[in-house]
Symmetry: C2
Subunit: 214 residues, 2 copies
DNA sequence: CGTACTTTTGAATCGCATCAAATCTGGTGG
DNA sequence: CCACCAGATTTGATGCGATTCAAAAGTACG
């Protein structure tokens, strides 16, 4: 029942003795992974699906704090005695659960592990800052170009789960994204292939005579 | 020359032997704190002002990776042999510089410190996720309400550096913010005071008869 | 071959950015 | 104390870009 195949990133991150303590779990859409006020017992790592953290606003409306498609749901709950929000599966979701007590102990005692954990958090911080910067841009065009420039390899960005999902990540409607991509392609600013987007290589300035760009 | 007053957050975070190694520094607008390709020697903590991390895009245009008004500029450079971006002071800025080698060593050897560092990163991750979620909202109204609900204490949010700065953080124009605040105040959804915004307390449902909310 | 989902295009509308300008504010110097 | 300036705050008018609603075309899958 307990045997799980860990994704490579988790396998290298976690010390060996923790591997066998990891438990796979499956949640159906609208299931709750944990509830506000409960004591954290596991760290959740989303393998597939989508989970949100939600709190109840002052007028009773739900406030989304976070949305995770891949990775840890609540690193921050590592040292907390009770949850301050609910975790909700908004699609069918697969996660890996790591016993939180053992994890915290390992972090205290195994400084190599702590170091890797810090690196993981550093990466997460960088990713999030890029994402914030992208979302601060007002036009879909700018967000798309920023995405390809920052998340892509050398101007080449692999579309993961489809354009509709991507639209959600860019916080725009899928219609707007489709139109913008079409426009960028027509103006030859990007090229589109099967599952990827690419910044068009401008002809080098050597080929132009001075002043051709007013 | 070296004596600096550390902000409380840094003082509690850093182990004592690091305190005296911290150096204050001042940068004028458009100064660079560090350059791409250089080896990181210090960790930068912004005390006042504003710093951006920038990379050069494929077409030579600057791409902003991060914007920091308060806190560490590049935790992620902790374990990296050279910078992958420039740090640019976009206003006159005060920072505290911490020698990076000593810092990294301390993190390896002092597990208490490592633990605090992890907590600090956890906090940062949470903050950033909230910020992303906020920027994903399409209307200024929603962003403002989300801000008060999540950053405020009990529905009460203290405006830090003025509304114009706040507008920048919400990634909207100051005009839009002013108008939205005025509208929210008129509709009695929020109250405004000197330096704070507050969610209006709705009359409790006790005062209503059942079914008043269809 | 039908069903569900993604991709695409069209048209109407709305919110925000933008540009402009007026008012208010605190601080400075005469 | 007043005149004056720089910056923040506010209100107005206009246009653009994205949302929204609608619908068609393409694609995967059983």
């Amino acid at each position: 029942m307990k045997s799980v195949v860990l994704p490579p990133s988790l396998k290298t991150l976690l010390p060996a003795q923790l591997h066998e303590l990891c438990i796979g779990a499956y949640y159906k859409k609208n299931d709750r992974l944990f509830l506000t006020g409960k004591m954290p017992e596991s760290m959740f790592y989303v393998v597939a699906g989508e989970v949100t953290l939600e709190r109840t606003g002052l007028q009773g409306e739900p406030v989304v704090l976070q949305r995770t498609r891949q990775g840890f749901v609540s690193e921050a709950s590592l040292k907390v005695s009770k949850y301050h929000c609910d975790a909700l599966a908004i699609t069918d979701t697969n996660v890996i659960k790591i016993p939180i007590k053992v994890l915290a102990d390992a972090l205290d005692k195994d400084s190599e592990f702590a170091s890797r954990w810090i690196s993981m958090l550093n990466l997460e911080v960088r990713r999030l800052r890029l994402h914030c910067e992208r979302l601060s841009m007002k036009s879909v065009r700018d967000r798309v170009l920023h995405l390809i420039n920052t998340e892509g390899q050398d101007g080449n960005y692999a579309i993961g789960t489809g354009l509709k999902t991507l639209a959600g990540e860019l916080a725009v409607t899928h219609e707007a994204l489709y139109r913008t991509l079409a426009a960028l392609e027509k103006s030859e600013e990007i090229e589109r292939g099967d599952g990827f987007l690419m910044i068009s290589k401008k002809p080098t300035d050597q080929t132009r005579t001075a002043g051709s760009t007013p």
